[in-house]
């Protein structure tokens, strides 16, 4: 009989997408195991990993759990994949930030905040599946499209949900040096 810890570890090892506690529970024979217990097991595994010089850790992303390498592994992983690292331009990040904080948001609102035409950036982000069309603004001429971030956005930035993004006010404290002199 495998230990619960072993099963959870194996499932997270095999899965190619984040697994929620509910999904993990659904894959167990013993349906009486509480979600909290599974969560505890994952925390236990992470404790073992951090004490054992492991290359990976279980992260909470997009409402699920996923094994991810630790940051120091990045240069080696990139060499293995012979890849240039994922990169988003400043313009793309700014556009993404506006969508993330103002969603659902209109193209025109993005243009206004950034002071430039954001059309090309919106298409790039749609192509990368970081944002999606989430609806249309009724009552405006032409019912313009509304944009929101996607689950892939959460996975890409290692966020559990949108609420785990720091608020704009919190960010001001994080990056005081980049702020123009305000007072």
């Amino acid at each position: 009989m495998l230990k619960l810890k072993t099963i959870i570890e194996g499932l997270l090892f095999v899965s190619d997408a984040p697994l929620s506690l509910e999904q993990l529970s659904g894959l167990l024979e013993d349906k009486s195991i509480a979600l909290d217990e599974i969560k505890g097991v994952i925390e236990g595994l992470n404790g073992e990993y951090s004490g054992g010089d492991r290359a990976f850790v279980i992260r909470e992303v997009a409402d699920g759990y996923q094994m991810r390498t630790i940051i120091d592994m990045a240069p080696y992983a990139l060499r293995l994949k012979r890849n240039t690292p994922a990169r988003l331009s400043k313009a793309a990040l700014e556009t993404l930030a506006v969508v993330a904080y103002r969603q659902p948001v209109l193209r025109a609102e993005i243009d206004k905040i950034r002071g430039v035409d954001a059309g090309a950036m919106v298409r790039t982000l749609l192509d990368k599946e970081l944002i999606r069309v989430s609806g249309r603004r009724e009552g405006l001429p032409g019912r313009p499209m509304l944009y929101s971030t996607t689950e892939k956005f959460l996975e890409t930035f290692e966020l559990n949900d949108l609420a785990s993004l720091p608020t704009i006010d919190e960010i001001k404290d994080l990056f005081p040096q980049s702020e123009p002199r305000l007072f």
């Binding site: 090892f13 190619d16 997408a17 992260r59 996923q66 094994m67 991810r68 390498t69 630790i70 940051i71 592994m73 990045a74 992983a77 994949k81 890849n83 690292p85 994922a86 990169r87 988003l88 400043k90 313009a91 990040l93 700014e94 993404l96 930030a97 506006v98 993330a100 904080y101 206004k112 905040i113 950034r114 002071g115 430039v116 035409d117 749609l126 999606r132 069309v133 689950e151 892939k152 996975e155 890409t156 930035f157 290692e158 966020l159 720091p166 704009i168 960010i171 001001k172 994080l174 990056f175 980049s178 702020e179 123009p180 002199r181 305000l182 007072f183």
Partner: protein, 266 residues
Amino acid sequence: MELSNEELHLRLDIYQGPLDLLLHLIKINEVDIYDIPISLITAQYIEYIERMDSLNLDLVGDFLIMAATLTHIKSKMLLPAPEETKDDQPAEDPRMELVKPLLEYASFRQAAENLASMPLLERDVFTRGGEGLGTLDLAPGQALPRPEQRVAKSTALELVKAWRYLLEERGKEEPTLSFFMETVTIGEKIGKIRAFMIAYKTAHFQDLPRARNDNFDLALCFLAILELARTGFLRLWQDPGPDPLGPRLFLADPTAADNLKAMDYR
């Protein structure tokens, strides 16, 4: 010296737009954002865009609008303030129309920096395997995985991509001349594909019986499989990345499309 479009683009890329350039000027001049020396900043701003020296209005258009705004604010400030306003309140500083968007943009620029500093997938952290969507490889007749295990999270965009891809593939086919017009309705097309899928169980889009080099027929095929998928008769699978044979089709429920016969598709 003539600058090529690309070089100009690079120089413009330093600033994400007029607001970015203005924030930069405010910073290097070490001035208070609530008390912008509008004359100085306007002069520097205009000097900068003059150096862009480009006739590409698409590229500099947004910068030019801001130049006009700055000049407008400057001229407003040169005018004596109106002696009294309606509510006897001091008139708003004309620079405020600039300060509000600048502050708003600055906060989103910081939010972007914050995003850039987060552990980015495929740059700082890596998961096992590659893309989040695994590939599905089934031998003919092999049982389908349960749908809840293998439902691709797709959007209409994926459909558009698949369609554009099929059109491109069609362009590669040998051109042929056709001398007769075939008028096939979508109902007939559905009937053909139903019979084909009941016989073969799984197929690639390219395997389906259809007229070669005929966009109308390709469109009918595409609509037919969408309709069949909607009824649950077919399940569609598009591998991430290009698959030269197009989307894959699986027979899901042979009885699901029976009620389609009565419907009119023209």
